[in-house]
């Protein structure tokens, strides 16, 4: 697995910082043109064949960071025009993801390869076990690619481990088969299948999958100063910096937000409602209920596991409830959710009380651009403190625990947790779907409350986090401990 912080992620963050700086100085249109040149100067060794190739790709990264799609990127259109468009944009544009064709390595199609370790042995288990007779052996085994169906049996049976799989990392990471190659060999996303989990984004070693930034839009609203811009920060965000939550809130105010809300408040509402819903569902004889706060999961069920649809709790997400609180206090405010998540950008697109969804990368860039040092700030006094369980929504198991803590009779609960929707996680989901539809038996020990989080470890392992989840987990622990008790 790639490190969360690598060359590709850092260059994308650096671009965000530069865009934010330029915009705050009122020079975005004129200055944006120079970003690729500044980041790939001639006196430094290039990553690719030459600095000009690097600059061409950086240009596309800038386009994505301005919130525009790269697929229909026009080489002759100056960045000046893209910036002008971004500054006029009323709403984020569909889709949330974009693929940089020129950064996409166009990895060779996923396949099996015989390496030099092949001994051309006498037993020839690769040949014997191949169901398509695709393997011939002289001194070495050879795979006929026209016959090979990529089943992997040759690899599994070779006693010398001489056959390897050459994967395509993004395709391998996508749990729902939404990515495949187009005629030119570049990856293309099927948005009818995509659940916006962000796995491809964090797995591509070339950083070719990018989320379209909304930072320009948010900074514009701050600078226009017509409507109040409020920040709704997810519990996972409190784990991203080495600072107290009160300092983080102070930093967000300094960065230009007019008001700050903890999304853990919405998480408390969500847990209250889910506990009630769970009790009602069990009383009426439902087999099981699943949580609904993870929007990548909800989308996975809607598209790929329809048998489980009726089990997803009808409770809305913490983001939605927190936006409701903010809108109740100021119906005209611009709500900006801050999270580590790509799927929330998708959810926000459909939720008419959430205006923008920023990643912590974008907010981090804004803090750097403004020269804000969180740890040096005075801690803002927080009027309403959410419960510890609400704050712990960011961690796998946390939502289930929050619901459990609110049940009147805990003996009815048989909890289970799906920690990460990779391909195995999707299979587990399919199994629950079959139990619900009656194709598999529902036994006395079959779980009845299933928490699903698309990211391993929970939101602190989200695709846009800046902090290593191990460290984030410790920092989240402190934030959770400072929460109030669940009544």
């Amino acid at each position: 697995m790639l490190n969360i912080n690598n060359n590709a992620s850092n260059i994308n963050r650096e671009i965000l910082v530069r865009i934010a700086r330029l915009q705050l100085e009122g020079k975005l249109r004129d200055g944006v043109h120079y970003i690729p040149r500044e980041l790939a100067p001639t006196d430094k060794p290039p990553f690719r064949c030459c600095v000009y190739h690097d600059r061409a790709i950086l240009r596309m990264r800038v386009v994505a960071r301005l919130g525009c799609s790269v697929e229909d990127c026009d080489e002759d259109k100056p960045l000046y025009d893209y910036a002008a468009e971004a500054l006029k944009r009323e709403k984020p544009t569909w889709p949330m993801l974009t693929v940089l064709h020129d950064a996409c390595n166009g990895c060779v199609r996923s396949h099996y390869m015989v390496t030099n370790a092949c001994q051309g042995c006498f037993a020839r288990p690769c040949m014997v076990n191949c169901p398509k007779k695709a393997i011939t052996v002289d001194k070495h085994a050879h795979i006929d690619e026209t016959k090979c169906i990529n089943c992997g049996l040759c690899m599994q049976n070779c006693p010398y481990h001489s056959i390897i799989k050459i994967p395509v990392p993004c395709e391998e990471a996508c749990p729902v088969g939404a990515i495949s190659k187009d005629e030119s060999g570049h990856e293309k996303i099927d948005y009818d299948k995509c659940i916006f989990c962000g796995n491809c984004m964090r797995s591509c070693p070339f950083g070719a999958m990018m989320d379209k930034s909304q930072l320009v839009d948010v900074i514009r609203h701050m600078m226009e100063n017509k409507k109040k811009v409020v920040a709704l920060y997810a519990p996972a965000i409190a784990s991203q910096f080495r600072a107290e939550s009160g300092q983080l809130e102070e930093a967000l105010l300094d960065a230009g937000f007019d008001k700050v809300y903890e999304v853990a408040l919405g998480a408390d509402i969500c847990a209250d409602k889910e506990a009630k819903e769970f009790e009602e569902r069990m009383a009426r004889g439902d087999k099981m209920m699943t949580t609904s706060c993870c929007s990548a999961y909800v989308r996975a069920v809607q598209i790929h596991v329809p048998e489980l649809k009726e089990c997803v709790s009808s409770t809305r997400s913490p983001m939605h409830y927190t936006a409701e609180i903010a809108r109740k206090e100021d119906p005209d405010c611009i709500t900006v959710f801050i999270g580590p998540c790509l799927a929330k950008r998708r959810e926000g697109f459909d939720d008419n009380i959430v205006n923008y969804v920023l990643s912590i990368e974008e907010v981090g860039a804004l803090l750097i651009a403004k020269g804000i040092e969180i740890a040096s700030l005075k801690s803002k006094e927080q009027k309403v403190i959410p419960t510890s369980t609400g704050r712990n929504f960011a961690k796998t198991g946390g939502v289930e625990e929050a619901v459990a803590a609110r049940l009147k009779d805990k003996s009815i609960l048989r909890p289970a947790v799906i920690n990460g929707l990779d391909k195995t996680g999707m299979k587990t989901l399919a199994m629950y779907g079959m139990i619900n539809s009656g194709k598999l038996p529902c036994k006395p020990d079959t779980p009845n409350l299933i928490e699903v989080m698309a990211c391993e470890g929970g939101c602190i392992g989200g695709p846009s986090v800046i902090t290593n989840p191990k460290i984030a987990s410790v920092q989240l622990g402190k934030y959770v401990a400072e929460g109030t008790k669940t009544e």
């Binding site: 912080n5 850092n10 963050r13 910096f241 990368e361 803090l367 750097i368 040096s376 800046i466």
Partner: protein
């Protein structure tokens, strides 16, 4: 014996640029070095605010600033210093 002082900048800018990975240094250090190093988190060192366009994140090892720090580089530097201390 005097320990090698490693200060990891945990300021906002360094954290955005991946300083958290460096905080795993303690568990990534080779066993032979574990008791020879003292690791501390440091508030912003101020280097990022200077006019000189520097590269984040920063780590200070025995007072020497390492730019664009990553775990392998930091460990290599520590190994070198430890080697020098042994010979001294």
């Amino acid at each position: 014996m005097r320990k090698i002082q490693v200060e990891i900048c945990t300021g906002t800018a360094c954290f955005v640029m991946g300083a958290s990975e460096l905080m795993l240094l303690e568990e990534k250090l080779p066993e032979s070095l574990q008791d020879k190093v003292e690791i501390t988190g440091s508030p912003c060192m101020g280097n990022c605010h200077s006019e000189r366009k520097s590269h984040l994140p920063f780590v200070k090892i025995d007072g020497e600033v390492i730019e664009d720090a990553n775990l392998p580089d930091v460990i290599e530097r520590i190994e070198k210093i430890a080697e020098g201390n042994k010979n001294a």
